[in-house]
Symmetry: C2
Subunit: 192 residues, 2 copies
């Protein structure tokens, strides 16, 4: 209340309110109220409600990409690292559906609206895959494929198992078997 109003404090409050009321019900006035300021003050730090929402989504997505970055740049053998990267991605995504299915289903809409932020996130993830594949080629574990194109293709090929658009299918009992089949197929194409 009596501290300086910063971008960070607003983001923190916004996330708290998003979580409580859901992103669509949340108003700028709600966020301002939690901070004990008028909503006009929020507009000194964010150009629009959309800018604020995008910033919150960005932070939220970062919580997925950061642990994956650690895996991508670890010293683990590329084949093992690749498998761990994917299983962690699926684990993180599924935890999100389970822990808050309501927020997850709303997040699908939010993602569709915040295309740019999500595109950047996907780019980050594909970049991480590219590093693993590049390392695998260098070590001779993978065939000399184009790392960027292959990273993109692997990400797209596994979309059914990590894209929020398919979230409803993840509770089926045979999803794990389905992913294993796809993973076996796509890695069959790159292992030396």
């Amino acid at each position: 209340m009596n501290e300086v109003l910063t971008r960070e404090r607003i983001l923190e409050a916004a996330e708290q309110v998003f979580r409580r009321f859901g992103p669509h019900k949340t108003t700028v006035v709600d966020v301002a109220r939690l901070l004990g300021v008028s909503h006009g003050s929020v507009y000194r730090h964010f150009d629009s409600k959309i800018a604020l929402r995008d910033a919150v989504v960005e932070g939220w997505l970062k919580r997925t990409s950061d642990p994956l970055a650690a895996i991508a740049t670890s010293g683990e053998a590329p084949a093992k690292r690749l498998r761990l990267w994917f299983s962690t991605l699926l684990k993180l995504k599924r935890e999100k559906v389970k822990s808050d299915p309501e927020l997850f289903s709303v997040s699908r809409t939010i993602f569709a609206e915040a295309r740019e932020v999500v595109a950047r996130h996907v780019d980050t993830l594909v970049g991480q895959l590219e590093i693993i594949i590049g390392d695998g080629i260098a070590s001779g574990d993978f065939r000399p494929v184009d790392p960027r194109a292959t990273a993109q293709a692997m990400f797209d090929a596994t979309a059914r198992f990590h894209d929020p658009a398919h979230g409803a299918e993840w509770s089926a009992p045979d999803v794990d078997a389905g992913f294993d089949r796809v993973y076996a197929l796509v890695t069959a194409g790159i292992v030396a």
Copy 2:
């Protein structure tokens, strides 16, 4: 008007009205009116509006699976046949989004609500892929993989390019390149 009222005539009329007013706006009374009967008569042939809608969608999906069946059982070389099958699948799906986005969007709703119709359709398609892959193994063009599991994996791996949940992404300019990358990756794993 003066002919006997059959399931087929109702389906025909229903499809016509669906196409004209959009499936959400269409009422059972609209369908009955086009046939010159009361809506009560429609209920002699279909248990509910949902049953009628499902039957219409079933016929619609058949228009995708029938031409694909012809390709799957053609005498073409398996590798070429596989490629043709997929490019036809994508072409048909994209035509549907373009020519009738309203009807297309309802099929998305049906995915969540009445899974049975769609599940049967997907089973049919995977079965067709299985035939092509089986033929390819017999001819020595493909490695001796499990045809059913591989068919399922190929279908899942290409979901982003044919699953209605991703329909909005198909208008992007780089989708074709994206599909080519994924196709190259998954076939790299099976060609002998």
